[in-house]
Structures are given as structure tokens and as C-alpha cells.
Amino acid sequence: MDTAQKEVLFGLYDDEEVLLDAVRKAKGDHLEIMDVFTPFPVHGLDPALGLEESRLHIAGFIYGAIGTLFAFGFMTWVFTRDWPIIFGGKPYWSVPAFIPITFELTVLFSAIGMTVTFFTICGMWPGVNNPTLDDRITDDKFCIAFNTNGQSKTEVDRLKSFFKETGASEVNTKVI
């Protein structure tokens, strides 16, 4: 994430179908979209934007596997090497009793690991400045944003006419 100030030109749409058509048209016209904001997940937006599938779940699997090994290994070490105690006449290394805890630590590791990874990738640590282009994009507006830093007037006009053609209800600029 670069922290430099950006001049953003953005258009607001009233409907997700109109937004999807606009995104497809922008791709066809080779306009470089900075980001798209929607109040809810829009089906078909990811392929329209050409986004790759997230690899977060692979990280999650790895964290989960670490959790499994850690939990099982730790209990094995404690109950066979470090502090063997007989519980209810069971053997020291009583695998069935370890399974629930192993399962829980697997879930815990993968959940916390994925959350931390996700926040790190998105740069969302505490105290981060997170400006919104328009508050209504969390409510009922669908937004396409272009970065107009260092663009000439004709390029900006081209973007504005694009918004007009594709049926944006509002076009604004904001420096974030």
C-alpha cells in the first residue's frame, strides 16, 4: 500500500447490474480501475474485474496443520515425557482424549492465523487511517473509483464521459 495522497475520481451507481455492466465496459475500454466499492458482495464482480482467487485459504490450511501438530505433539510430550499422570485407568498416551483438543487448536490456529494474515495484507493495523470516498457506499450506492493522479484533462474528461455513458447517478472527486 502506498501512503501518498491520491486524487480519486469516482462515480456512484444505484444498481449492481448497472455497476457490473460499467465494470465490463471499463475493462473493454482499457480504463484502469483503482477499486470498486459495494455495500454487499456482488455476484460476478470478481471475474469481471479480473481478480485472482484468494490464496488465504491455503494459508489457513497451513495454520491449521501447524495447530494440529502443535496440539498433538504438545500433549504427547506432556503426558508421556514431562508429567505422566494416569487418568481413569487410561494409558499415558491416550489418543482419543487428545482428539477434541487437537481439533479445537486446529480451528483456533487457522482462524487466528487467517485473521492476522488478512489484516496484515490489507494494512489494517490499529490506528490506521481509512478514508471512505462516500459514506453511502456502505449503504445503498455502488462505486467505481479511478486514480487520476498526474492525468491530463483529456484523460479525466474521458473518464467522466465514461461515467455518463454507463449511467452513474453522481460523479465526484476526492483527495485521499
Binding site: 455476484h43 460476478g44 482467487e53 481413569g88 485407568g89 482419543p96 482428539i99 477434541p100
Partner: protein
Amino acid sequence: MGLGILCLLLTFFLDSQPLHVRFWTNFLQNTVFFTGIAFITLFIYAAFITSWAGWYTQFKRVMEAMTMFLVPGLVLLLVVIAGLWLGWHELYHWASAEEVAKDQVLLGKSGFLNKGWYTLGTLVIVGIWIFFAMRLRSLSLAEDQNGGVDFAHHRKMRIFAAAFLPVAGFSSAAIIWQWTMSIDAHWYSTLYAWYTGASWFIAANATLILLLIYLKSKGYYQGVNEEHLQDLGKYLFAISIFWTYLWFSQYMLIWYANIGEETTYFQTRMHDYPVLFYGNLVMNFILPFFILMRNDTKRKYGTLVFVCVLVILGHWVDFFQMIKPGALDTAIHAAGAHGGETISGAGGHGDHGAFHMGFTIPGLLDLGAMLGFAALFIFVVFSRLEKVALEPTNDPYMAESVHHHV
């Protein structure tokens, strides 16, 4: 297609006649397995209707056709019941009066485990299931003919479906105790009904996927695409984990409490039937879990078909290991009581760990019997399916199903 294998089945029946234990356990196992698939399909269907789901609407005729196996299922169960009354088989320990008389535990259970309740329970409960299956199917078909904008048929279906859910929950638990849990008459587990229910659920789900892929390959159901299959695959994945959860819960509680009358169930299976016991876990949890974990394996036909065949076989093996050990034990006792006749096999005296075809591992005859029952199942489904339009026309959720996107 079905008839060829059906003839094969008849040969197998004649062939396995001398080992009447093997014949009857196979018969019971496959009857319960496939009737259960039909029942749980009805349950899934009712749950979908009640939850106002729309994505499955395109192929709901296949599910309706699958529930129609309940009728031949009842006929097959009547054969088991006839055998029970006429003494054709020694499946159930509690069925012999002299055994019960000298057994305090069985005497205590005889209020529920007796021939009368078995017969009545099967007739009434499967009868109720058939009633709901018929009702939902006829309402759904009538909607095609004269469904209007007020969706009266759909509202009515919703009432029947919602009424069926609690009925299904309690009745299936009661009847599975009779059908299979009572084979180990001394043993009991309160998780058993859930466990078998989950087993049926996966088998039914996998059967549905296979039928859909087959029908698609024949050019029907072109609107059913990988989005629908991915959702069905997710069910397969989720319920496989649920099944494992129940399997482990049942195992761990018994292991932990360490009460003799309960642990004997698992002791027998772990020591005398190791292939079944561990194979069951590998087939039904480890392989589907790792194969179906990825997104694309649920969307590609190859992997999905492989997993479906695997888990159908896996849960068939699951029922195999639920039924065989107890029934064999009962048969050995019965043979001992009658004198003369001896039955060999694992669970026999000092025969630990030996492989015995048809008991500790499924042999070709058992697989043949399974194929025969499967063929009958498919025959019933397709003969029900060919009578109706494959895709519903007046269902309010049809459009949603066509545009389904995960």
C-alpha cells in the same frame, strides 16, 4: 441396465443360500441402506422446502423419484419381517423366546424389542414416510399442470414438508434401533440414530450427484452446472465431517466410560474386524476430507464422481460393519443351541484377526448383492422419472435455480 444385474443378484442369492447368515445379513444391510437413502432424500427435500431454498429446484424431480424407493423398500422389509415370524433367519438375538427368557437384559428390553413392535413400527413408520413422499410428489407434479400465481401448491407443500421434519427425526431414530441397533441386542448407543442418519445422508447425497452427472451426460439437465454441483459437493464435504464427529463422539464416550457392556461393541470391531473398522474411517473421512477440501474438486466431474463412488461404498461398508459382527455372533449362538451345524468366521472361537470373506471384509458376493440392490434402486428411480417432465414448470423458485451462482 438394471435387469441384467438383477439376474446376477438372483444367482448370488442361490449361491449364498448355504451360508444363510451371509444371505440374510446382506439382505438386511442393503434393504436398510437403500431404504434409508430414499428416506433421507425425502428428509433433505423437506428441509429444502421448509428453508425456502431455491437452488435445487431444477433437479427436484430426481429427488422426488429417489424417495419413491420407499415403496419397494417396504416390500423388502416385509420379507425380513416374514422371516422374523416364520423363523427363516437368526438375525436378531431378541427374536428367540428361549434366549430372552434366560437373559435378564433382553427380558428388560422385550417391551420394545419384540416381533410385534418390529412389525408394527416398520409398517406404520415407513407407511408415514411413504404418505409424505407421495403427497409432496403429487403436489409438486400438480403444480406443473395447474399452478397459479397464488402458489397454493407451494404453500401446501411447505406445510407438509415442515410437518414431516419432526416426524422424520423421531421415527427414523425409533426404527433404526429396531432394524440394526438391536442386532447387538445387549448394546445400545443414543448417538446411533444420528450416526446412521448421517451415513444415509452422505450416501443419498452422493447418489444424487451421480444421477445428475449421468443424466447430464445423456443430455438432460443442461441448466444444472458446476455451481449446483459445488453446492452438492459442499454438502458431501460437510456431512462427511459431521459423520466423523458422530463416529468419534460415539467411540470416545464409550472408550472414556469404559463400561463392559458398551465397549464390547468396539472391542469386537477393532480386534476381529480391523479392515472394516479402520477402512471405514479412511473411506468416509480421511479421503473425502482431503479430496473435497479444495474448491475445484467439487466443480470437476472426475474428482466428484470418484468421491461419490468412494463414499457410497464407504457408507455401505459402514452399515456392513454395523450389522455383520452382531448377526454372526447371534448365529453362532443359535447354531450352538441347535447343535450340529457350525458356522466359522471371525468372532468365532479363537479366530481373531482372520479374514473371513463376507464378514470381516466384503467379498464379491456381497458386492454383487449390493450392485443388485443398487440396480433395483436405479431402476425404480428412472422408471418414476421417465413418467414426468424432468424440469418443473410452475415452481416459483425455478428462475432462481437457473441463475444459481455460488
